[in-house]
Amino acid sequence: MRINRINKKTPPTDPTVSNFSEIDKLLAEYKGRKGTVIPILQGVQEILGYLPPRVFQKIADNTGIPVSDLYGVATFYAQFRLHPVGKLMIKVCHGTACHVQNASAVSSAIEEALGVKDGETTSDGLFTLESVACLGCCSLAPVMMIGNDTYGKLTGAEAVKIIKEIRQKEMSTTSDPVNNK
């Protein structure tokens, strides 16, 4: 059931960022229009990387939609995140074509190499691992997507190798990989 998506372990944190002015602009754009809850939440997540609690109250005050409704929508759809995520999302495809071509081996190899489980973020804040239903590149199965790049015809070892290369590149270009979007 979709309610399982609510992560009970850690309470949502509030952002230290203060770019609420962008959110004000977004809310002004949708003011007075109907059916805008999902685009507003998508827009906020685009700005902040996730949906912190303070934002729910802000949207509620602005639109008159109760926080409970907003929270209901945010927890229903897989796209919305209530927690900050790493700089790069590793999306491992678990569609049918990938599943029958051993996508679970790819996932478990990554889990082992990064020391995180599905949905978790590495301690350096660089990667968040996520299983997704289908990326639609079935001919390249098994597939994963890191950031905007897709990698196909993987094995567990190859996936880990790609991730290690990306980590090395990130380490050399920035001293502080922790960056909320």
Partner: protein, 592 residues
């Protein structure tokens, strides 16, 4: 070199395979060599298995090259463009001589995909040059009425391509029958089936045909507004749809007096989905467009009477809309000439899994499943044994090899216990465990259940628990009857298509592969050697050279042995990860 044109296939699958880099490389080489060559873009022609694809048009003909990654570009430019010698090695298709890949395209009939891979989807002029927007012009010129169009669509026999298979003309007739100043037409582009990518390819490859189909539908039912509900996971499709919408507005196909039809004021907007499989269901989709949780509601009232914002609404799938302009232009009869008695026209399938040529195919209804897999798909990967094909995704089922001569039409596929569905066709071979496949789909529907109906919410969970038990080797003989009982209750007591069809993957695998379930339960064996907990890894002492690779790679140090002597695996410590099996160069690790 004059009049030479190079076209790169830049669909999502092509880009994933590296077509973006191929394009850039060609661009650079053209600039560096100051070559008199035009460079163009198109989308997916369906041959995903040979991506990245590059097509060269020159004075001698048209040549389609496959597997052209960045590194092969210089060779192609050098030989084909500069020396005018086609590189046979990478050639996929040309009209000048036959190639092994011809059989992929030979038996296809392209109506929905007629422009995919042929035109640049970001140029409205290219669509117009290929007969685009001629159908709406015909409607305007011949002053066709709503009733005329609905009659043509009814006579064509086209049925909903999203999975339901409800006659499209009938649906339009119902929606047209309710009068209201506000009326909506929605395109369902929330393609959520794992293993299906037909709609994505159409939206990326030919967005204007979907718009034209919607304009025709909008005119036929008297709609005031159109909405495309598209998965947010398809960023390229959304980008190209937005470009197409702006172009169509500029050219007057949308807006006030759209297409030059007086008093037909019609525009289309995109709503991005946020990731919920259940939103493929009509009433859930409407709830989502309205900004609520995407939960289905009871019908009646059907959307035709009371849908989006409680106004009459008609919903069709991407593929259905994409076929409409062709039907209006070529007539109902031309469409109905293809197909079987009750399923007219063609159907697009996404061929994937253990098949040699995976990709997108469009075939006339009535072709056998075997022909699709073996003639078009080229057979099973690594020449393994064909076991089953999964059709219809989480709502469908597995059709076994001995029923592969079933023809593809709505009724024949339904008779097997699977469904036509939106068109995913995932091929499975002897190394696929059918109990594991059933568990995979149940896991999916269980996670995606919206939670409204008790039987779907809890029933799928209970079924999943039983399947997990069986694949862990803890199944009981009574489990199979319990699965069937639960399945029936879920089917009978849920509101929407997701719940009603959720048990199908279990029911079909139980019907055709009961022996596999029984092997798991009674002998604690997984015949396909997939279910981890039922496997044991042992060292074949006669083959083991004592190279120590397995022992060094074992993550739990469960392998003992001295150098140059046969190793052994301690079964109590083994976590069955299979790493030793893949690492051993001497095939000394055996799995049973």
């Amino acid at each position: 070199m004059q009049n030479t044109k190079i076209i790169v296939g830049l669909g999502s699958c092509g880009i994933a395979a590296g077509a973006g880099k191929t394009y850039q490389k060609i661009e650079t080489l053209i600039a560096e060599g100051n070559l008199d060559v035009k460079l163009g873009k198109t989308s997916c022609v369906g041959m995903c298995y040979r991506e990245p694809l590059v097509e060269i048009h020159d004075a001698s003909g048209v040549y389609l090259y496959g597997d052209i990654d960045e590194s092969r570009v210089p060779e192609i430019i050098e030989k084909h463009i500069l020396e005018q010698k086609p590189v046979k090695e990478y050639l996929v298709k040309t009209d000048l001589f036959p190639t092994p890949d011809d059989s992929f395209l030979k038996d296809q009939v392209k109506i929905t995909l007629r422009n995919c891979g042929m035109i640049d989807p970001e140029q409205i002029e290219e669509y117009e040059a290929h007969g685009g927007y001629q159908a709406v012009k015909k409607i305007a010129a011949e002053k066709l009425t709503s009733a005329d169009i609905i009659k043509t669509v009814l006579e064509s026999g086209i049925r909903g391509r999203g999975g339901g298979g409800f006659p499209t003309g009938l649906k339009w007739k119902f929606a047209a029958g309710y009068s209201s100043p506000e009326k909506y037409i929605i395109c369902n582009a929330d393609e959520g089936d794992p293993g299906a990518f037909m709609d994505r390819s159409v939206l990326e490859g030919d967005p204007h045909t979907v718009l034209e189909g919607m304009i025709i539908g909008g005119y036929a039912i008297g709609a005031s507004d159109g909405v495309i509900y598209c998965r947010a996971e398809y960023p390229l499709a959304i980008k190209r749809l937005n470009i197409a919408l702006n172009q169509a507005r500029e050219k007057g196909y949308l807006g006030t007096d759209a297409c030059g039809i007086k008093d037909f004021n019609f525009d289309i907007h995109i709503k991005e989905g946020a990731g919920a499989f259940v939103c493929g269901e009509e009433t859930a989709l409407i709830a989502s467009v309205e900004g609520r949780r995407g939960m289905p509601r009871k019908r009646p009232p059907f959307p035709a009477q009371s849908g989006l914002w409680n106004k009459p609404t008609n919903i069709n799938n991407v593929e259905t809309f994409a076929g409409i302009p062709w039907i209006i232009l070529n007539g109902a009869e031309a469409f109905a000439n293809f197909g079987t008695e009750k399923s007219k026209g063609t159907k697009v399938f996404a061929l994937a899994g253990k098949v040699k040529r995976s990709g997108l195919v469009e075939v006339p209804m009535g072709m056998t499943i075997r022909d699709v897999i073996f003639n078009l798909g080229g057979g099973i990967k690594d020449d393994k044994k064909f076991k089953a094909v999964q059709m219809g995704g989480p709502s469908g089922g597995c059709i076994p090899e001995y029923l592969a001569d079933t023809v593809v039409d709505y009724d024949s596929v339904t008779a097997t216990g699977a469904i036509m569905g939106s068109g995913g066709m995932v091929v499975m071979d002897e190394t696929t465990c059918m109990v594991d496949v059933a568990k995979f789909f149940l896991d999916f529907t269980c996670k995606e259940s919206c939670g409204k109906c008790t039987f779907c919410r809890i029933g799928t969970k209970r079924m999943l628990e039983i399947l997990e038990r069986i694949t862990n080797g803890e199944g009981k003989p009574s489990d199979l009857d319990e699965l069937i009982d639960l399945a029936q209750q879920i089917k009978d007591n849920t509101l929407c298509g997701l719940g009603q069809t959720a048990p199908n993957p279990v029911l079909t695998t139980l019907r055709y592969f009961r022996d596999e379930y029984e092997a798991h339960i009674n002998q604690h064996k997984c015949p396909a050697k997939v279910c981890k907990n039922l496997l044991t890894y042992t060292v074949n002492e006669s083959k083991c050279t004592g190279c120590t690779v397995c022992a060094r790679n074992c993550p739990v140090n469960a392998i003992d042995g001295e150098r140059k002597k046969a190793h052994t695996i301690r079964q109590d410590a083994c976590i069955k990860c299979g790493l030793c099996f893949t690492k051993c160069k001497f095939d000394a690790i055996e799995m049973s």
